[in-house]
């Protein structure tokens, strides 16, 4: 049988990052095909290529056996491909029915909107796919789950028989997820092809027929859902490929630098994200926090940095309780942070290299005297030192940080954070999106800081990284640390299971 979609050898590069590398992917008609991988693995890029938003650098796209040049979403739609994005594209003040027909309005006498025909058509669609929506309600009155249904209806109305759902469950509550799954199964029964993008293992396992796993832009493999399990998927998704080794002095973890006791916090929607985290990181120790994304890692880091309020428990830095200490005080007390999203949290692209390098320590007496003026001579000296010591490839220190490549930007952040002689380093996905050279550099620096006595909490979705660098591995699952492991005494299988289900069965 000809597959509904067949992607052959897709490669796509963005400045500094290879997003897709020689990807082969095909989905059959009437199949629910899961596309699994961590953030940044290249799932969304691949599907955006299929939907005509990006052109691939290499590779072919076949739709129903025909090779096509997918140059725009309009073309994709004509070929029966629909995509529901993570962020909905609905007009809030229009009704559901109006949103669905937008751009393809049924007309009478050529100009007038045929309202009855519109409602009739749309209603027929809803019944066919068992999607229950109040057609005359304005979209802004609807819950997120219902809005998503409207997006799906919109795609179907435009004649989609291949439907791409990009992280559809990310914004949904558990009952809404159930409803979505019912709708997706109904689509399958009608012979539609659904491509389901997700990083949630359980969900893809529950809904998909086959699952393709991506990691760092490459296909790890495609498996039948009924012939695999959580452990195998977790292993594929984050498992080891290349082994980096570092010469690490054996650590004598004696002085506790960070202790976290019964820490609780909620996520942006107000739902519990941390449910009593217990954690201890000592001087000269790297603790790797392993877990499938979305199990509270982001919230934990934010609470530790003072960017999110703890709703329970406490955080101790050395002997002192910093649970309610403001972020600037924590930085002064010796916490450094390599944030997960460097563009959003790590640096200011409109600032120069110099300005970014002193950001956060700009109030330090070394740079700012009593009068409140910054000593730019001193800052220049300092920046030039850092640029040299950390080999930051920049024309000069007055270059805007936004002009640097991704790897160089990360070096800049590393230079800024590590040069403060931190007691504690919180490194969040420190090598995500970096090429091999930059990755090794950052990892090497982390080890160096550990050897010099810093405590390091390494949060990473990359199990290789955790494995290569950690003195101890902590596994986080649903907002709790479920296990501590010695990397010498555990294996992928065990970690995979812990990450996927919180226990070893």
């Amino acid at each position: 049988m000809t597959p509904a979609v067949d992607l052959r050898g897709i490669t796509k590069a963005f400045p500094g990052v290879l997003a897709n590398i020689d990807i082969h992917f095909s989905a059959e008609e009437g199949e629910i095909h899961g596309l699994l991988g961590e953030n940044g693995a290249g799932k969304t890029v691949l599907m955006s290529i299929l939907y005509g938003l990006y052109r691939p650098d290499e590779g072919k796209i076949l739709v129903k056996g025909e090779e096509v040049a997918m140059d725009s979403p309009a073309k994709a739609m004509r070929l029966g491909i629909g995509m529901v994005h993570q962020h909905f594209m609905l007009v809030p003040s229009l009704t559901v029915a109006e949103n669905i027909i937008l751009g393809r309005e049924p007309k009478k006498k050529g100009v007038l909107l045929d309202e009855n025909k519109m409602l009739e058509q749309v209603r027929a669609f809803c019944e066919l796919y068992r999607l229950d929506v109040d057609l005359e309600a304005p979209v802004y009155t609807l819950s997120v789950g219902v809005q998503q249904r409207v997006e799906i209806l919109k795609a179907l109305y435009r004649g989609a028989d291949i439907l791409i759902l990009d992280e559809p469950t990310a914004v949904l509550t558990p009952p809404e997820v159930e409803e979505l799954f019912r709708a997706v199964r109904a689509l399958k029964d009608e012979g539609k092809t659904v491509i389901f993008i997700s990083h949630k293992l359980r969900e893809v396992l529950a809904i998909c027929d086959r699952i393709t796993v991506l990691k760092r832009g490459r296909v790890v493999g495609t498996v039948d859902a009924d012939k695999t399990d959580l452990g195998q998927l977790a292993e594929m998704m984050v498992g080891r490929e290349i082994v980096y080794t570092f010469d690490m002095e054996p650590c004598e973890a004696e002085t506790t630098v960070l202790s976290v006791e019964g820490l609780e916090a909620t996520d942006d929607r107000g739902l519990p994200a941390l449910r009593g985290v217990e954690l201890r990181v000592c001087a000269s120790e790297i603790v790797g926090l392993a877990g499938v994304e979305g199990n509270g890692q982001t919230e934990l880091v934010e609470v530790l940095m003072g960017l999110r309020r703890a709703t329970g428990g406490r955080i101790l830095l050395g002997e002192s309780d910093i649970t309610t200490t403001p972020p600037d005080e924590r930085i002064k007390a010796g916490i450094s942070h390599i944030p997960e999203d460097r563009h959003k949290w790590g640096l200011i692209e409109g600032f120069t290299v110099l300005e970014n390098l002193i950001l956060g320590s700009h109030r330090n007496p070394r740079f700012t005297g009593r009068g409140g003026s910054i000593d730019f001579k001193e800052a220049t000296k300092y920046s030039e030192e850092l640029v040299r010591d950390y080999s930051i490839q920049t024309p000069n220190i007055n270059t805007p940080a936004g002009h640097l490549s991704g790897g160089t930007q990360q070096r800049l952040i590393v230079a800024r954070e590590f040069s403060r002689q931190p007691r504690l380093i919180i490194a969040s996905q420190p090598t995500r999106g970096l090429d091999i050279g930059a990755t090794e550099y950052v990892r090497g620096k982390l080890v160096e800081m550990r050897d010099r006595g810093s405590a390091v909490l390494l949060v990473s979705a990359d199990l290789d990284e955790i494995w290569a660098l950690s003195d101890r591995i902590a596994v986080i699952y649903e907002g709790r640390i479920v296990s501590f492991k010695d990397p010498e005494e555990t294996n992928e299988q065990e970690l995979g299971l812990l990450m996927a289900s919180g226990k070893v069965d």
Partner: protein
């Protein structure tokens, strides 16, 4: 493969970087000058089409604005209040806030200065003038504090609140000079301020007052604060990327509040200068829209304090030169408003185009 592309891209950054490091300032000035030139060219075409001689009209305008001491005095008199309101807009803008309520902050500042100028009779001038200016700055600052608080505590958008508070200020000051502080007579105004509160006129018979010095010093001061101090550093960090600023330990909300308070205070100081130096009493609705002009001037000045200063002088020259042009050549004064609008239009358009290009480029 990745390694290779990485070095290639950083080499690009090297070559392009140097060019770009040098150019933002220069290319900005270039763009603004071209825009102003374009405005005058289009203005000339319109003049020609309506049967006037562009050369004569512009000549008269230039003579009027800069031809003699009187003209220069008038030009700078007109420019003075707009320098303040432009700086006010600019300062808030650096923190990422859109303070379009300089008009209101200007008015409450003016009234506060007038009231202090009326009271405290017998105070020596070296105390009375600073006191009145301070009162104006405080009142303007308060008018900036309200929307700042509404924004950080309740998420009310500052564009709405600052604009609405401008109307509150207009009618509040109107009420004050119609009722509690009304001077005897038909006009809605206060009694004159005490001579000890007057800012000296520096170029009689024009109304140019020492307020221009305050404006000049403030321009230098604001550039210094933004570029050289830790506070300015934090303001700019907040404006460019509030997330990264917060991550670096900067209390973003507090910076936003301070930025808007300072912004309001600058506008309030401008209003005070007008009262103490030019009008010498508060007259209802005496501002012909200096607050709104400030927004345009900040834009034309490329959101740089010195640029704003120059742009304010341009706007002042259009006002003072326009009068002379009308008298000498019979060209209607409307051409001045047309020219102003054209300048703003041309300045806004390339910015728009550039920002579109930039965004398109960044989005891969």
């Amino acid at each position: 493969m990745t390694k290779k592309s990485d070095t290639a891209s950083s080499a690009d950054a090297g070559a392009g970087g140097k060019f770009l490091v040098l150019s933002p300032g220069l290319s900005m000035i270039g763009t603004q000058l071209v825009a102003i030139l374009m405005a005058f060219i289009v203005g000339a075409i319109i003049l020609k089409m309506t049967g006037y001689s562009p050369l004569e009209a512009y000549g008269a305008m230039l003579r009027g604005a800069f031809g003699d001491v009187y003209g220069i005095g008038q030009t700078f008199t007109q420019a003075t209040p707009i320098i303040f309101t432009a700086l006010a807009f600019l300062f808030a803008f650096k923190s990422g806030l859109f303070n379009i309520g300089a008009e209101g902050q200007f008015l409450v500042g003016a009234l506060a200065a007038a009231l202090v100028g009326i009271s405290f009779n017998g105070l020596p001038a070296f105390l009375h003038v600073p006191l009145a200016l301070l009162a104006g700055a405080l009142a303007g600052g308060l008018w900036g504090f309200i929307p700042a608080l509404l924004k950080t505590k309740f998420g009310a958008h500052e564009v709405i609140t600052t604009m609405m508070l401008s109307y509150v200020a207009l009618y509040l000051t109107g009420y004050m000079v119609n009722y509690p502080f009304k001077a005897p007579g038909w006009v809605a105004q206060t009694v004159p301020i005490a001579p000890s509160a007057e800012l000296p006129r520096i170029l009689p018979p024009t109304q140019l007052s020492a307020s221009i010095f305050v404006a000049g010093l403030l321009t230098i001061g604001i550039q210094y604060v933004l570029r050289k101090t830790a506070f300015g550093f934090e303001i700019r960090a907040t404006g460019l990327n509030p997330n990264a600023a917060q991550n670096a330990g900067i209390d973003v909300d507090r910076r936003l509040i301070l930025a808007l308070v300072v912004s309001g205070a600058i506008a309030g100081l401008g209003g005070s200068g007008e009262i103490l130096g030019v009008h010498r009493r508060f007259i209802e609705a005496f501002s012909p829209g200096y607050g709104w002009d400030g927004l345009a001037v900040a834009l034309v000045g490329g959101n740089n304090p010195y640029g704003a200063l120059l742009a304010a002088v341009l706007f002042g020259a259009l006002r003072s030169g326009g009068m002379v042009m009308t008298r000498a050549t019979g060209v209607p004064l409307d051409i001045i408003f047309l020219l102003r609008a054209l300048v703003i239009l041309f300045v806004a358009a390339p910015t728009l185009i550039r920002s579109l290009l930039r965004r398109g480029g960044l989005r891969w």
